[in-house]
């Protein structure tokens, strides 16, 4: 149910991001979604890519500070209130969101969610029959 997000530690130095991106580009790995959480000293780049396993291995090889994190990818309709109702399900179960971001796929809005309780989050997805994106689906993009 979860997908692997690739997180990269980036110092605030010119050329750091570009180095990371060229590693993916050279390996023909596509970026489906990306977000950067930044502080004054460093940033954390979070990526959803077409081949996370390969991307992770390549980053390791290239001495990039990298980690894999399991996140939920929930598909919602593009209409008012859909985002609110998904989050409502989690809130109801007492689950907090640590971070989230969105991207668009096949006419749907995809929410990437990292929660404080992945096990409970799994139950919520099942209970409310939320539509989620699997790793297989991502690999076929």
């Amino acid at each position: 149910m979860t997908i692997n997000q690739i997180s990269i530690f980036l110092e605030n130095k010119c050329g750091k991001l570009s180095k990371v991106l060229s590693i993916l580009s050279d390996a023909h790995i596509g970026i489906i979604a990306a977000t950067v959480a930044d502080t004054s000293e460093y940033g954390i780049l979070r990526l959803i890519v077409t081949n996370p396993e390969k991307a992770y291995a390549l980053f390791k090889e290239n001495n990039v500070t990298v980690s894999k994190t399991e996140v939920l990818a929930i598909a919602t309709d593009r209409c008012a209130g859909s985002f609110a109702s998904v989050l409502g399900c989690f809130t109801e179960a007492g689950i907090s969101v640590e971070y989230m971001y969105c991207f668009s796929l096949d006419g749907k809005s995809i929410l990437i969610l990292r929660t404080n309780d992945p096990v409970q989050a799994y139950e919520v997805v099942k209970k409310h029959k939320l539509e989620y994106i699997s790793t297989d689906k991502l690999n076929n993009i």
Binding site: E41, Y42, I44, V64, T65, S67
Partner: protein, 428 residues
């Protein structure tokens, strides 16, 4: 009167060396009572009679900081502990602390050394002297206190920190002279400016004694300009009592080292042979007027050179140059002695950190960059907590707060051979 003790300070070299030999022989007789030296003297067949010239000093092996640690706490004492009246100790962060013991006579002599230094830079019993050194175990506190009192100056033991209060004392008491760490002198001047105090107009300051951390000539000139004073470089180390070992005279060209208290040698730290006069080497000192804990041929690890030629001030005691660095990797920052290994020990406790780190010293700040390990977590709050916790542990260990910067793997220069962990951007 120009001299505190004209006879000693301007003694001819021949007479001074004669005096040194006499004191050295006496010191060897005293040191025989210390368990540490007793063993060494036996092994090397040394008695006061076997030392017939200053050159014979070479027969005695060097003493190192390690020896002091290994004989912690009282193994170096040459008189019964009951006759000692003071103990100073290093913080001992890199192992056993080092202890230095003093008899009442030692303390009196130490005070005399400091008073002589202060008199040399023009301070008199009419001066008001404020000591901004840390007190307690740090010898810059009590060392200057007793010296200034011996000189007869009104002495204010303000101790370290609390800049606003320091300023209040300076203006209220009419302080004329400070003992201050160079980096703090700059800070004090800043706070004066912020508070609208013009040191030339609003204070009576005319002299500062700066020491306890390496500094450049430019820094001295800056302090003089900022505070409107003359700034004199002083050298001391706890193993040699503390402050008062060597001090600049009004010529500000090298520090006179009191040769009726110590014998000076400059050695090549690798071959351990004397370097030709004027060349840089490690300063080695032998106390010749101390009874509780004499130290013979003590390796200070400080690199300096003898400034050749006579000093226009008329003093015949040798001058040593500004320190050029260390023959070990000790860092002196804000008067605190640190070793990179202390930092490494803290960093290596964290599995989230890799093995590569770089310490950068600039002005009075320390920045530590450290690479993350494979266990990098992308949770920002975890990284923040980690930074805080490492900083806290470093502060506990170093007694000062470094600026910690987490960096990615491969960001720091790859270390090959002997790792260069410290970048000191200060100019000496």
């Amino acid at each position: 009167m120009t001299y505190w003790q004209a006879e000693v300070e301007t003694m001819s070299r021949a007479d001074l060396e004669k005096l040194q030999l006499e004191y050295l022989k006496k010191t060897i007789r005293i040191a025989t009572n210390s368990p540490f030296y007793n063993k060494i003297f036996k092994e090397h067949h040394i008695t006061s009679d076997s030392i017939c010239s200053l050159d014979d000093l070479k027969k005695i092996p060097f003493t190192t900081k390690e020896d002091l640690r290994n004989n912690y706490p009282f193994g170096m004492a040459a008189i019964p502990i009951q006759q000692c009246v003071r103990l100073h100790s290093s913080s001992g962060t890199t192992g056993n602390p080092t202890v230095v013991l003093h008899s009442a006579k030692d303390l009196n002599e130490w005070a005399n050394q400091v008073a002589r230094c202060m008199y040399m830079v023009g301070l008199r019993d009419t001066d008001i002297f404020q000591n901004t050194s840390g007190y307690g175990m740090f010898t810059g506190g009590l060392g200057f206190q007793y010296g200034a009192e011996k000189l007869g100056a009104l002495t204010v033991p303000a101790a370290a920190g609390n800049t606003k209060r320091q300023l209040k004392f300076i203006t209220d008491f009419g302080t004329t002279c400070l003992h201050i760490i160079p980096s703090y002198a700059t800070r004090l001047a800043e706070v004066m400016r912020e508070s609208g105090i013009d040191p030339r107009r609003d204070t009576k300051l005319h002299t500062v004694c700066i020491g306890a951390e390496p500094h450049s000539e430019e820094q001295r000139l800056r302090i003089e300009e900022l505070l409107g004073v003359k700034a004199y470089n002083c050298f001391g180390m706890s193993e040699m009592n503390g402050p008062g070992v060597a001090f600049e005279c009004k010529e500000q060209n090298g520090m006179h080292i009191w040769e009726d208290y110590v014998i000076v040698e400059i050695i090549d730290p690798v071959t351990l042979e004397h370097v030709p006069e004027g060349e840089v080497g490690e300063l080695v000192l032998t106390t010749i007027n101390r009874e509780a804990m004499p130290l013979l041929r003590y390796r200070t690890r400080d690199l300096t050179r003898i400034i050749s030629g006579d000093c226009p001030c008329g003093r015949t005691h040798k001058r040593i140059d500004r320190f050029k660095g260390r023959s070990d990797d000790m860092i002196i920052l804000k008067g605190v002695n640190l070793f990179p290994i202390q930092i490494e020990t803290v960093l290596m406790k964290f599995k989230e950190l890799g093995n590569n780190y770089l310490i950068t010293i600039d002005q009075d700040e320390m920045q530590i960059e450290v690479e993350l390990s494979d266990l990098f977590t992308d949770d920002y709050s975890v990284l923040q907590r980690l930074t805080k916790e490492i900083t806290r542990q470093l502060k506990d260990e170093l007694l000062l707060t470094p600026k910690l910067k987490l960096v990615g793997r491969g960001s720091l220069p790859v270390q090959e051979g002997k790792a260069v962990r410290v970048k000191d951007l200060r100019k000496f």
